[in-house]
């Protein structure tokens, strides 16, 4: 199961299912991603213009038609742009630095998200990436908040 990864902060399916040590695990926002396997983003496909949207929409933001249906976006893609965030942005309670970038999903859209690699020098253009679920922070009540991120694909 390639999505269970020895990357800091990556939440395995087992943790999501059982809640690590009984803690509740909640996504930062409903409807963004599915932990899988494989972990993937939840998007929309427009039957009018054919374009894919993320996050999920009812009305297509590209053509304005109400012909969108829910789809699972490809779990893998290629790195298109990247940097690292070194100072906590407004409203963020997690650790810094963290990776930040854009991945072009296979035959799909370009998506903005966190990257599991916080060192820009260890990433390269067009590098194969996969969707993973990571821990953002643990609340005072012990609730583990997760989000989607992109991780370099480790060769099998």
């Amino acid at each position: 199961m390639h999505y269970i990864r020895a990357v800091d902060g990556v939440v395995s399916r087992a943790a999501v299912a059982s809640g690590a040590e009984g803690a509740a695990v909640v996504p930062v926002h409903d409807g963004l991603f599915d932990a899988g396997p494989p972990a993937h983003l939840l998007g929309s496909a427009c039957d009018s213009c054919g374009l894919l949207s993320f996050p999920r929409v009812e009305r297509c933001g590209y053509c304005g038609e109400v012909d969108s249906r829910p789809v699972n976006l490809p779990a893998t893609g290629r790195l298109w742009a990247w940097t690292a965030v070194t100072t906590a942005p407004p409203g963020y309670r997690g650790a810094v630095p963290f990776g930040f970038g854009v991945v072009e999903l296979d035959a799909g859209p370009r998506v903005v998200g966190r990257l599991t690699e916080p060192d820009p020098d260890r990433l390269r253009a067009h590098q194969p990436m996969e969707t993973v679920v990571v821990t953002l922070h643990t609340g005072d009540d012990g609730q583990v908040v997760t989000t989607y991120a992109f991780a370099p694909t480790v060769p099998a």
């Binding site: 930062v28 926002h29 963004l32 998007g43 374009l51 894919l52 949207s53 993320f54 996050p55 933001g61 590209y62 298109w80 742009a81 990247w82 940097t83 690292a84 965030v85 070194t86 100072t87 906590a88 942005p89 407004p90 409203g91 963020y92 309670r93 997690g94 963290f98 930040f100 970038g101 854009v102 072009e104 859209p109 370009r110 998506v111 903005v112 998200g113 966190r114 820009p120 253009a125 953002l136 908040v145 989000t147």
Partner: protein, 381 residues
């Protein structure tokens, strides 16, 4: 068709002024513009105030302090282009014959640090995605990939604009910096270092517009506002200033700045080759270079060449940001676009002091930011 002329301009310096309210800064800028135009109470029929953080009835608070209310006062928020939006509305109203004389001003007092904006949803903030400089950094990295721009080029933009800013008494920073200091300042988001980013700050600017006669035979010294256009983004580019969470792989969709520039060139009947000087959005060093390409000052991919030739430096073929740009002045969102107009009016009148570009006749001002909102104005004499 009615033409639009600039009858007066005024500025409150850009910087940090802990003891001065945002309204009082507006009073300084508006009073100066009215005094220059020789216009007093009752002399204008409408007012448009650009501000992003000013709050409810910002414009009323300024004009109330001056005892100049009663006319329509409209507050306009359009992110970094708030002042450009106010200018577009005022200019359009005069062109349409609605008013003869309209006051346009912009005021801002920004919180320190990374800009917090209601633009992002709570989950985006919680996930760390409201990292404004990170989006600038991703655009910078793409520019380095597509246009051969290097980090040395990014440092050169800062060195150039800070050198220009030395001659601007209204700028927040009036000292030169060298490239090595820029490149050894703290990395905010690779490839952008701290000194490559402008400082959100405070300030105000005002412009009084009047209906002019037919284009030929304008009053001596009068500057004409030949175009004031505002555009928003088209869906598609993932790194658009609209800050979407996704985009398409289609790189042919024009950005908001190109849409605004194209409209402005058409309105003014000029093209990029006719320009004598430009004030453009330099929120960060890469943004200035992106602006060169989006405004058509060079071919797409040609920004590094334009910079390296020295064309956009003082004394060059097409000086950009002779005021010092936002990198020297700082960026008070509501005031920045009108601050550019104030600078260009002074340049076109020959009143720019030590930073005067000789013989300037056609000038362009450009702002772009969250929304996306892009404003492009063209001034002529």
């Amino acid at each position: 068709m009615t033409t639009v002329e600039v009858a007066g301009v005024g500025l409150h310096p850009f910087g940090r002024f802990p003891g001065t309210s945002v309204s009082d800064m507006g009073v300084v800028a508006v009073s100066a513009a009215l005094a220059e135009a020789g216009i007093g109470r009752g002399g204008f029929q409408a007012a448009y105030c650009g501000t992003a953080y000013g709050g409810v009835a910002s414009g009323h608070r300024v004009l109330g302090k001056l005892g100049m209310t009663g006319m329509p006062i409209v507050d306009v928020e359009a992110g970094c282009a708030s002042g450009a939006a106010a200018l577009m509305l005022a200019s359009s109203a005069i062109r349409a014959g609605q008013y003869d004389t309209v006051l346009v001003f912009g005021i801002e007092k920004m919180p320190k640090g990374m800009i917090r904006s209601s633009f992002f949803e709570p989950w985006q903030e919680e996930a760390g995605l409201a990292a404004t400089p990170a989006y600038f950094a991703l655009r910078a990295q793409r520019l380095m990939t597509t246009s051969g721009v290097t980090k040395d080029d990014l440092a050169s933009v800062v060195v150039k604009n800070r050198r220009h800013g030395v001659h601007n008494p209204d700028a927040m920073f009036q000292t030169e910096v060298d490239a090595s200091s820029v490149l050894t300042s703290r990395v905010v988001c690779e490839p952008l270092h701290l000194w490559m980013l402008c400082t959100p700050n405070e300030g105000a600017a005002a412009v009084l517009l009047t209906a002019g006669g037919p284009a030929p035979g304008r009053a001596a010294g009068r500057v004409r506002l030949a175009a004031a256009e505002l555009r928003s983004h088209l869906a598609g580019p993932v790194l658009s200033e609209s800050t979407p969470m996704s985009g398409t792989a289609d790189d042919s969709v024009p950005p908001a700045s190109t849409l605004a520039a194209t409209a402005a060139y058409e309105s003014a009947g000029v093209g990029p080759d006719d320009l004598d000087l430009v004030e453009c959005q330099d929120t960060d060093a890469a943004r200035e270079l992106i602006s060169y390409e989006e405004l058509g000052l060079c071919p797409v991919g040609g920004s590094a060449d334009l910079l390296r030739r020295g064309d956009t430096a003082r004394g060059g073929r097409l000086p950009v940001n002779l005021s010092g740009g936002l990198l020297s002045k700082g960026e008070p969102l509501g005031a920045s676009a009108l601050g550019q107009v104030v600078e260009l009016v002074r340049q076109l009148r020959g009143q720019a002091g030590d930073r005067q570009h000789p013989g300037a006749r056609v000038a362009l001002a450009h702002t772009v930011g969250r929304g996306a909102n892009a404003g492009v104005s063209i001034l002529t004499r």
